[in-house]
Symmetry: C4
Subunit: 248 residues, 4 copies
């Protein structure tokens, strides 16, 4: 079971990188299904390099239990503090997707314009790190900052982080990954719709009932199967290339 | 003949995915040339994974005749109901192409700005699922919704779907695929032209006579040859990789 | 010598496709260095599939001398008529690059904002096919239309074609390819600069003296070496793959 | 030590090309750690073709000491003159990244909107070559122009060049590369934020204290490890392909 979770985190990391939602930064985690006081996440490594052996187990204070000297993500407290505050959350993606940042720096709210991103209709609060700490380096690198972010998240499916990106949560890994990818796409569509409508124009968003009807089941299952097949195919290629290299 | 059609649907699916017109969602279908009461479309699978063995035969009520337990696209009724209503239609693409959605959510009409997308000049009605059902999850997952969409389509070559994407129809598969790809490109060009022209500026579109002269022959034949060659090349590679994998 | 020219046209075709300046449509040609009354261009084929064996010789009336039944580009008259009208022109690229079309449909003139596209400062007239023929299908598929376009081009390095794209000319193939690629990039940069400057803002373009100093030598030589190395590398791979296929 | 530096310049060149920050033009250099009066940079070659054997040693007047007849970048004086004026600078990237040029041609200042590009908050002066030379071809191809640019740079981490691009400096290669990549990303985000905020809207940027806290440590280390692994992997593939080719 833990092995499935670790492999799913590898798939998640590489899929998010493939879609440009994360680059060398950003990370995906999952709460342990065996022990809700534990979560899994990679050591300090660019997501598209992550393999199963890089996935560590953390307690909710974000101490790694099996690091063996490997460096950790400075922002791991985002994950630990949200898992503390939100028992329903089983997976978290922290990302820097490009189209979302402009919304985090203006007063324009992200709204659900595209049905694949209906979850936005559940509300995405905006968190400004300045409210927790003046003159920070913008990173959520202490339990206090993680806890402050978790409070801003509240019961929502995600939180925008000013000048930084967002953190998206869900009941399972595919949903957290799918939400992160479609959040970025929705942001681009909404940007274009606002520009297209022009001053005084109006944009039509999903209404509350539509949001509720969609989020109740949307787990991006068909996408997940595609993403998994592609990521596993690449993993096999990488291992074959490494084997060729070491046999020379 | 059916084999050609199935292979063409594989080419269509992979080509649309290559161009970002569909991702894991969206689907292409073709009416049977042997029996106009039947159509072909993949089972529930991301289009870029589709091979000939995944293409099923459906009746016009969108029952699959040879599913053998495989799951079906929830939105297959888009296809069946349009084939019922439009005897001239031989191929359909339902897609989520990104540049089109903003037009579906504003009052700005898509118009033919680029000669490769002249068919837009035949008119693309806008369908809002709310007119058929309040509080839906946005999916066309019943015969009633499919039939309502088909009525909105009328005699046009496509229909925009608010907050969702579009459905494009044609007399053959290459034309349905080409129209879907150039619809997205036209949307991006038109968006930029509107922004560039600015308030009070004007944009020059194709006129009715130009549209009529172009759509009479435009089947994207040179593109189709390119797309087919690329898709078949990849299929061969995939089979070779699979063979290497199974012989290990 | 002709062999070099044919290979350079293969490199040109594939490079333009790589940069998204052409897709299945658009074409590159070169005047024969042996006989100025002849030019070379591919038969009717998507540019990224073109190999040396697909390059035909045409007279200036755009009759192919060695087609052997192969179909020809409908718009070959663009090339023949410009070679007639402009003895200085040795290479021509006709393309549909996406960022240029919006400029062809508005009253906003393309201007040289980026030093790599200084040639724009020599002037790019806008040609509307309607001035030559009402209700056309937008294609330059007769000697008369080609000649009308050539007249609009005049002594300039290129001409925009309303709702269609552009045709770029030069004294050699690398320059025609480089100009086509940077025309598209300049168009995107200029679009963004205009939007960024906003109403009442001003954008700084290259002045006449800067344009003159730059165009006198700009042949995109370092780019051409890169493009050639990449295109030839791919040609070798394709031949190897074809050889593997035929030996099975 | 010098070998490490040369390999790092190969990684830098290919990484910048991968990210679209440079194409065939643009270049990365590093000051010699053995002799501060020397720097290393490739001969005249597109960055994505550069291998260790192409890296030459230059004195600060930008004379190559080991060119052996190989052509040099015309704009090498950008590097030599900045190394003269700025003893703290150990690495320089000159680039044409697309999103930055519009800012260089308008009165809109680039500001740090994204925490990965905090260094922008240290100020990026705008240099217009016209202030040094009227009617230039836009290239910094003399010691005088290089020195004029270096004066405009002053003590800042980079300088915008009107209609051309930018030059970014740093205390080490990873920082110069990372800053160049995130400068382009920040420019795109800022552009979108300004458009999104609209007339009279406001955009929230990093403040001085946040900039100071971030730039003190930001070396893009996790990115550098990723970029290096990918670039070295490709180098190995290229050598293997070349070996196969020469053994035929």
């Amino acid at each position: 079971m833990m092995d499935t979770l670790k492999l799913d985190l590898v798939v998640a990391s590489r899929t998010l990188a493939d879609h440009g939602v994360i680059d060398a930064y950003g990370h995906a985690s999952a709460r342990s299904t065996a022990n809700p006081q534990r979560y899994f996440m990679a050591c300090n490594l660019a997501p598209e390099l992550v393999t199963e052996g890089d996935i560590l187990e953390y307690d909710l204070d974000s101490n790694a239990l099996d690091a063996n000297g490997r460096a950790l993500y400075q922002e791991r407290f985002i994950h630990g503090e949200i898992y503390k505050a939100r028992p329903d959350v089983m997976a978290i993606v922290h990302n820097h997707s490009h189209a979302v940042v402009p919304f985090s720096c203006t007063n324009v709210a992200l709204l659900p314009i595209f049905h694949m991103a209906a979850f936005i209709g559940l509300g995405l609060p905006l968190w400004d790190i300045r409210e927790a700490q003046k003159g920070s380096d913008m990173l959520v690198k202490s339990p206090e900052l993680g806890s402050h972010l978790a409070a801003a998240l509240g019961a929502h499916p995600g939180v925008l982080m000013r000048g930084h990106g967002s953190t998206v949560v869900a009941e399972n890994i595919p949903r957290a990954v799918g939400r992160s990818i479609y959040l970025d796409i929705n942001a681009r569509m909404q940007y274009q719709a606002i520009v297209l409508a022009g001053d005084g124009g109006s944009v039509s968003y999903m209404d509350e009932a539509e949001v509720a009807a969609n989020v109740s089941w949307q787990n991006y299952e068909r996408s997940w199967r595609l993403w998994k097949e592609k990521a596993l195919g690449r993993l096999i290629e990488e291992k074959a290339a490494a084997a060729r290299g070491s046999s020379r």
